[in-house]
Subunit: 441 residues, 2 copies
Amino acid sequence: MPTGIAIIGCGIIGSAVADILLHEGPHLRQRSGQALQLRHVVERDMPKAKAAGVPTRIITDKLEVALADKQTQIVVELMGGLEPARTFVLRALKAGKHVVTANKYLIAVHGKELLAAARRAKRSIAFEASTGGTIPIILAMTKGLLANDISRVVGIVNGTCNYILTQMTQFDQSYAEALAGAQAAGFAEADPSFDVNGTDSSHKIAILAALAFGADIPLDKLEVSGIDTLHDTDLRFAREMGYVCKLLAIAEKVPAGGKSQQISGTSQQSISLRVHPTFVAKDRLIANVNGSFNAISVTGHASGETLYYGRGAGGKPTASAVVADVIDIAIGTYPMLFAQLPALNKRAEVRFIPSSDIISRNYLRITALDVPGVMADITRILGQHGISISAITQHESKAGHPVPVVVMTHEARDGSVASAIGAIDKLKTITAETARIRVLS
Amino acid sequence: MPTGIAIIGCGIIGSAVADILLHEGPHLRQRSGQALQLRHVVERDMPKAKAAGVPTRIITDKLEVALADKQTQIVVELMGGLEPARTFVLRALKAGKHVVTANKYLIAVHGKELLAAARRAKRSIAFEASTGGTIPIILAMTKGLLANDISRVVGIVNGTCNYILTQMTQFDQSYAEALAGAQAAGFAEADPSFDVNGTDSSHKIAILAALAFGADIPLDKLEVSGIDTLHDTDLRFAREMGYVCKLLAIAEKVPAGGKSQQISGTSQQSISLRVHPTFVAKDRLIANVNGSFNAISVTGHASGETLYYGRGAGGKPTASAVVADVIDIAIGTYPMLFAQLPALNKRAEVRFIPSSDIISRNYLRITALDVPGVMADITRILGQHGISISAITQHESKAGHPVPVVVMTHEARDGSVASAIGAIDKLKTITAETARIRVLS
């Protein structure tokens, strides 16, 4: 008997999943040993589903048709958004179906409720495609790295932002130019806010952090800034100094003292969660992840650093992850894992610390009038806040005109850096807000 | 009841696995939900096992002690080599134990026999640590990428070679200098032959190819050349032209025509398997994998290119993969997968094609006397063999002295390139054998 599948939502991903299930059945069976049968595509817009090549007889606009079908064991939610996706998933679980979803927003916001509902129903919910697109990162976190105490997860998890940053870096484009280009190339939506302001990345790192630390991650613990306020000047300075600017989503364990570093053991640790543009030394592997690709670096106490790379979006790449989940359920392995893995069903309480307590190196671009005493004022304020300077550059300019003073700091407490910037920006000789970007340690 | 484990062999990896099982039990249980108990360490050299911190009461020099213990469900083979490892694994399976091994040589040579023996015994044999060290690449191949028709696997799977090549590239060292440095740094053994001549890489790509293509891979189908004949001149020219030289292990599907490219579908395809130094464009991610790290790129028809990176050797990193396998068996998921996955138990027959039928771009360094007519001879011979030139450079020299003529070819049949080189090297104006390195497409 084949495993019966229903897809909810026949957009880009839904169409790609339907296409694989409808046309590659013999190949899937050859590789996985599983016979999979697409029995329903739940989609209100029937012409859309037809255009995707789905046979009319399996298209329905009623979820209950799929739920009432005893030969359908797996419901694949590919609608996106919170509602009605949440309600549909809860109904599917209640009807005794396993659920597969690619919906990061849903898992980040309602993951706790949905996982509990799956347990109550003695079913499972799989979400490989929710983070990192095609990359089997959930698999690495829930199986491959289980021997490890994970100290840090650092991800480029939004392809739109990485595409824009790559264009800005490689072709000296401004943010506006690069965004327009991304929209023209299909790598950014008409309203790109969720991507460029870091919200989408924050959902994904919340999902990864929950698995890495076996903890519930309330989204309000994340401090998020996006690429929408970046200045191309800073990307140029980054390059001059041997760095690349990336939007990184970071989840890491920080010991009581607040120093952000790779550590093992679990005593007296807090979790720091954040999304922000970050300078990355150009010889680090993750600095070389370009275009719309995603990559996630995971550091464990035994494994050391590992990294996973691939397409973070798109119909077929995402469908690859969705179908892998479907097969994992059909074989029976995922439900067995789901029932037993603490990160999926018995999460610990953890403490979170605010970014102000994190210690990191910083890039500062201070816009100052080129008049006597400015450098003295800047260095004095930094010193008063306990921030030591690893490099400082002021390019030549016409006297009396503002010039950028670029400062690279040694490791310093985030809160102190923010205070110092506040004090610097109050100087009469400072003509614009200081730009500040953290450096990946 | 905890899952009982016996380790055979208490060397670098065995010690690291024992250390995790002995001292991190509560953490492992917290993360995996599994109670694991190290019950036996089978090691002839008792002082070695004691020095690794293993309690005397669980050290034995008799495998039968571990096999007779009904509370031991998993035997972890970490002796290395073919015998007695093979015999011990067969005995463990026969005694009803699941087996975990990090032994790439054993799996590459005797994998077919051992997998069959495991099936007969209704047990499983797991080998995540055999390839790519800590990287969960077997997991990606047997689960994460199952929806894909995999067209190509390209790996840096020998850390010794990659360390040596990185030193040669970044610090202009000769091969001999870099090898000596690798030995001093503990990245190369006293007798490094198996690593530097490509044999170790060939074992690992054979294991990956078997999973990627669901096929038995006889080792004699591999064409292998190592880094031991590389000249530092070629690494310098690589850099000048925007390439990095890497020892790559490559397994790919090639359509009937022989053109090596990314393709889907399974009609009329053959498999090409090879290990050789390769020029990689420096902006490719795998070109930026440096030092003793490993990385494996896997291309699927739906996923596109994905890449997995991490430490390819070392006690703790390898132990991370070994313990992940142990947990996978303890949960019950791996035995369930093992019983059902065709790539692990019902492999297809495939055809192999020799390298001579592969089509790729090439770098040639021809050592010629700087006399009239040499360039004409070289270009004529290349043309006669149907090889077109994409770039050619001859640096200035004193007349009458040999100079390197560097040729980059367009795509050409490997066999034709070999014939052309044969003809060129017969010219009286050619003073040394032509160096030839393929370029990754």
